[in-house]
Subunit: 325 residues, 2 copies
């Protein structure tokens, strides 16, 4: 941990432990690219867990969130390579929520899961350094394997993340084409025959190419891209632009993305993408698909079944099926 000037010492990194290498290894070990989003939403948590919780007491709600997220991790850690905690739901509970987030990251790491923290952070360079220092790598105080970052502030806001990610064997995922409908408002504006998100994509590809050559990585670098499952045409288009880039694909399930929609994100070996599902797994017991099969008191079974079915769907409808050898 270092709160003073951050020194970049890329030469000393252990290349075999790069984020991209670890991600590949974990996906191959679990034979699936499914990522489980940890978005604890009070109103959707099983009633049996929250019945005695005082909603006005942030400590009590944070304790509930921790208990719920740890139960989820217990269920899904044998099945998937990683989790994606969403910062907003923890920040909402103030300091107790941040303690809960810290505990959950630690618990996920103990359970051998990669932790991709969804904070969508960024700022001008000297401040971006502080965010990167906060979150990236097992030596950081928050200990995330990777962090999502926003591109609006441009190259000098991204470079502190890129540099520190390399130094600490961590990764970043830059927002390129987000899963929400409103994402099109600015991302799809066209400049010189190219939408803005494509400019971002080309820059991310450049960063990841540099990461590959630095780390002697054959496939993908440590700079990834967020591309929503809800834009299947653009997913294939962006895969052809970003050849060296891991895709983090949100929007599967509750937001409408299907296994067929995300097929274009993968390479021929079933690598190159991780597909996130938050609500569709965490709150499966409330979904139309599983609520008849599993009652409220079988919510854990619903979580496991939804996870297994997503793994099967991706294996059946995308090249991720080739991971199963």
């Amino acid at each position: 941990m270092n709160y003073t000037n951050i020194k970049y010492n890329i030469a000393t990194q252990m290349k075999k432990d790069s984020f991209s290498a670890r991600l590949t290894q974990k996906i191959q070990a679990k034979q699936t690219p499914v990522l489980v989003g940890l978005d604890p939403r009070f109103e959707l948590i099983p009633d049996s867990l929250k019945k005695s919780v005082d909603t006005q007491n942030p400590f009590a709600v944070a304790t509930l969130f921790e208990r719920f997220c740890k139960a989820i991790i217990d269920i899904i850690s044998p099945l998937v390579p990683g989790v994606k905690p969403q910062c907003a739901f923890f920040e909402q509970l103030g300091v107790p929520g941040m303690q809960c987030l810290s505990n959950i990251i630690e618990y996920a790491r103990q359970n051998d899961l990669l932790v991709i923290l969804d904070g969508k952070r960024n700022d001008i360079g000297s401040t971006a350094s502080a965010y990167a220092n906060a979150y990236l790598g097992s030596n950081s105080i928050w200990k995330a394997d990777a962090l999502t970052v926003s591109p609006y502030l441009g190259d000098d806001s991204l470079s502190p993340f890129v540099q520190l990610a390399e130094e600490r064997q961590a990764g970043i995922f830059v927002l390129v084409k987000t899963s929400n409908a409103g994402g099109a408002m600015f991302q799809d504006l066209v400049s010189n025959n190219k939408p803005i998100y494509q400019y971002v994509a080309e820059y991310v590809e450049r960063l990841s190419e540099e990461s590959c050559s630095l780390n002697q990585l054959t496939y993908y670098g440590n700079v990834g891209a967020v591309v929503g499952a809800t834009w299947s045409t653009q997913l294939s288009e962006l895969r052809s632009i970003m050849k060296k880039v891991w895709f983090l694909v949100p929007g599967y399930g509750s937001q409408g993305g299907t296994a067929a929609d995300v097929a274009g994100a993968f390479d021929e070996n079933g690598l190159g993408a991780i597909v996130n599902n938050s609500r569709g797994i965490l709150f499966a017991h409330r979904s139309a698909r599983y609520s008849d099969l599993f009652g409220e008191n079988q919510w854990e079974k619903a979580v496991e079944t939804a996870t297994r079915q997503m793994i099967e769907s991706l294996a059946a409808e995308t090249s991720a099926g080739k991971l199963k050898t």
Copy 2:
């Protein structure tokens, strides 16, 4: 505090207490639009304060940051309308840093300062609601008067902030044209003869017009814009596009912006903009301008002098001088 579904109940708000009204009132009371950025950077904090602090202990560093920021607040609270804590520097210290941030926001409020939290947050709508719930207004757990937010995810990511800001008499500042050089990379791409930042500006203007009509505000709404002091030409151009919008202007001082550069951000009454200075005030004792006048042991005097001189410069070179009646 409400962690379940957020209900919008705009009709019940107290219009006279809107963020825009409070900001106007505080600027007029202090007769200046100077905002002090709370960016505690360990390496720049006076040596006399940090000499016994163990840099490897986040609790110790957080205690130092709290002591330093409270000392800054003691000096500047009689002089300026508000502060802008930068989340990154607190997040960097993990949970102890978040407790420190919470304590500093409370201390600033006790000292009658507006708190504009610089988090540059955003996400898709349902998650953006959680961020808005976390930060906006005195009823929220973090209790910020306003929050900076990023526009990359488009309208449906901004609307939860806008709606909750109205309900809780809070404000937001949307990144339009950031102060860093790299900001131009995507923000200045031209689509249909207009740079991207201008599309964002036009949308922010629309949101703030709606806020004005909702709150019966004559001048400015509760949806502001971040426009860097380092882009003086664009500041005037953007003022003509965003007539109903408060400007939060970073980049003054250490980043190179001068009082003359920011003149275009103000209206003829000296309102419409707040100008932030972080390093130039907090660490004035280390600057070329003040280090000869004030030694390390007079750092508080340097902070006060730098603040007063910025107030004077803005009064002399912009219409903010008209606030002094």
